[in-house]
Amino acid sequence: MINKHFRNIKKDNNTIVDNNSLRIVILGCITIVVALISMSILSMIITSNAVLNKLKTSDLQNMARSISVFVEGKIDKALDISVLLANDPTVVEWIQKEEQSRLEGEIVQVKMAELVNDFEYDVCFLTSAVTNHYWSYSSVDKEFVLLDTVTQTDSSDMWFFETLKMKKKYDINIDHNKELNDTYVWINTLVGDINQPLAVSGVGMNLSKVINQLIEDEEENEINNDILLVDGEGQIYLSKKPEYLEKSLTEYLPGNLVQEILRTNNLESKFDIADYETPQGEYFDIAYKKIKNTDWNLIVQIPRADSLGFLKAIIINTIISCILIILIIVLLFYFISNKIANPYKRALLLNEELEEKVKERTKELVEKNNRIKDSIEYAKMIQQTILPSSYDMGKCLKEYFIIYEPRDIVGGDFYWLKSHSKGYLVIVGDCTGHGVPGALMATAVNAMLNHVVDGICNDNPAVILYELDRLLKQSFKMNHNEKFISDGVDLGIIYIEEHKVIFSGANISVFVVDGNKIDEIKGNNCTIDYISEQQDKVFENYEIAYKQGVTLYMVTDGLIEQPGGEKGYPFGRRRFTNLIEAASKLEMDIQSSYILNTIKEYADEQIIRDDLTLLGFRL
């Protein structure tokens, strides 16, 4: 049974250990995952904000500016060259001479050819307001030719006559050539006085080619931005995306942003920055500005997903490291908890061993205890033989009951009865101590009582007490080693003869119940012992009036002083007197159980402290 129980406990313990380690692992993992995820999210937000901020304030600006510097630089250079050409005295002279001077004509031709070939312009032209001749040198033909003679009636020549009237040194035009599907920058410069120009000269530069060159450079760098060239009306003429070409900006960008772009008149080198969301939910960051001296717009836009693209790599790396860390932690926790669990297991094994030892010891103790118990049980039989038999009791006492409960099988309490021809003696005694020492005393006292009653006195309780005290001192004092200890006996003796009842007590009283009246006759307040220095011990006889139906009770202190109740105080003499009074109204044979039950109920969980003896009998 014990073994089974123990095994159950062991099983439970193991489960507890396992549950705990699993719980620790799960808890630990959850904590780490939560910490990692929240840290990652936080750092992602911070990083993306910082990247976006940098993109808007710095990266996009720089990128756009480098593009514009490149484009505008080309245009500026073309402008410088155009102005140089227009201011060339040879050119002026050649035009003034109506292109008749052959030498000057050759110089002009060489210069224009040099410009086209050296600076990679597409066209260099010179149109005279004197002859209306349109001279041209193109990178395609590589030849200085008189291409046309402009006339006011030809609408395609209108640009020439309007340029003559523009009253400023130069004008920059960008236009889209549908046939060539290219966008050109035209620098028109007035030759001579701007109020009375001699001719219009300039260069034409393929802007598409310039920008495409930029785009190619950037493609090599894997930059996924787009450079748009947009005219004053919002028409797109250049883009990486073919579907954008010759479409209106409004088809792709939000209307208010387009208006903002077209309205902007930003002459500084700095770009305006904005962002927008496409209907597909894609974000774009956009930088825009007017090309210097034109109403065309240069727009650089970059998908935000691209600029934040590297964050994806961070996310993926974070997830991977998260998984790795969790894996490591799980293994680590498993290892640690196993190491932690081991001492438990060892403790359980140790416990098992100890339990075995305890069982062995317990067995030994049980055996020893049984031997002692057997021995005491045997002693009890002996003690029983010195107690009066119920036959003898019944012969002398008409109605009686006896409570006799030694605390430890045998005890120091005893009762005694002897009858002779004239009357009989009833005695209740309580030797100090209980158990085996009490029983030894009781046996000795019994023998002495027999000696006194048989040899000295059998009808005077006080004399019997006195003689017993003397005898006890004689018998015990000689071998007495203990300085302080005095064993002894409390006794109550009743002698009954015809219609005479005499009581004498040493620390034991008799309760006399006559109808509703209860009297306690206390014996003398001195005990019978073998060391007491008290020389003036006086035992007195008390005569109790004989009356039929009167009940007498003699009790040892075990019943009166049994602790119990709420505070663990002794039952007490007053309460006991009341109990006797109540019991006396009952039949003799149920009084004992009534009294004993009352006391034991009062004792409740308190252990019984002393031997319990009560003799009650009716006259």
């Binding site: 100090t432 203990e482 005095s486 307040n525 602790p563 402290r609």
Partner: protein, 126 residues
């Protein structure tokens, strides 16, 4: 003189005999299996203590809920020893402390008091 201190058990009282404080306390229940063994050191200490020259008053406090008759005899022995000391000029005051609900303890205190002649013996009921 070394203090005598015995912890309380179910069947033996708490004992604290403090020579410096001149306070001897016995509190609890007393029904040891071997009264002699338990109380011999107590009594020896007491005799030792009383053999010293000491003019100041010694307070002895008993607060016993329950005691068996063997213990009762030992208590009487203690009181006898104290009584002898008082008659030799020592100043000793015994306080027998008990709860008013503990009738037996009060009665026993009264019985002890009756037997004593010189030893001041106060019964304090609370």
């Amino acid at each position: 003189m070394q203090k005598l201190l015995i912890e309380k058990t179910n069947s033996t009282p708490f004992i604290s005999f403090d020579a410096k404080a001149r306070l001897l306390e016995i509190k609890g229940e007393s029904y040891p299996e071997n009264v002699a063994k338990f109380y011999t050191p107590v009594l020896e200490w007491l005799q030792d203590y009383l053999s010293n020259d000491e003019s100041e008053t010694t307070a002895v406090e008993f607060e016993i809920l329950y005691f068996n008759s063997s213990s009762s005899k030992i208590f009487m022995t203690i009181f006898d020893i104290l009584e002898q000391a008082v008659s030799k000029g020592k100043k000793i005051l015994v306080k027998w402390i008990c709860d008013e609900g503990n009738e037996t303890a009060i009665e026993c205190g009264e019985e002890f008091k009756e037997d004593l002649v010189h030893l001041p013996f106060d019964i304090k009921v609370y």
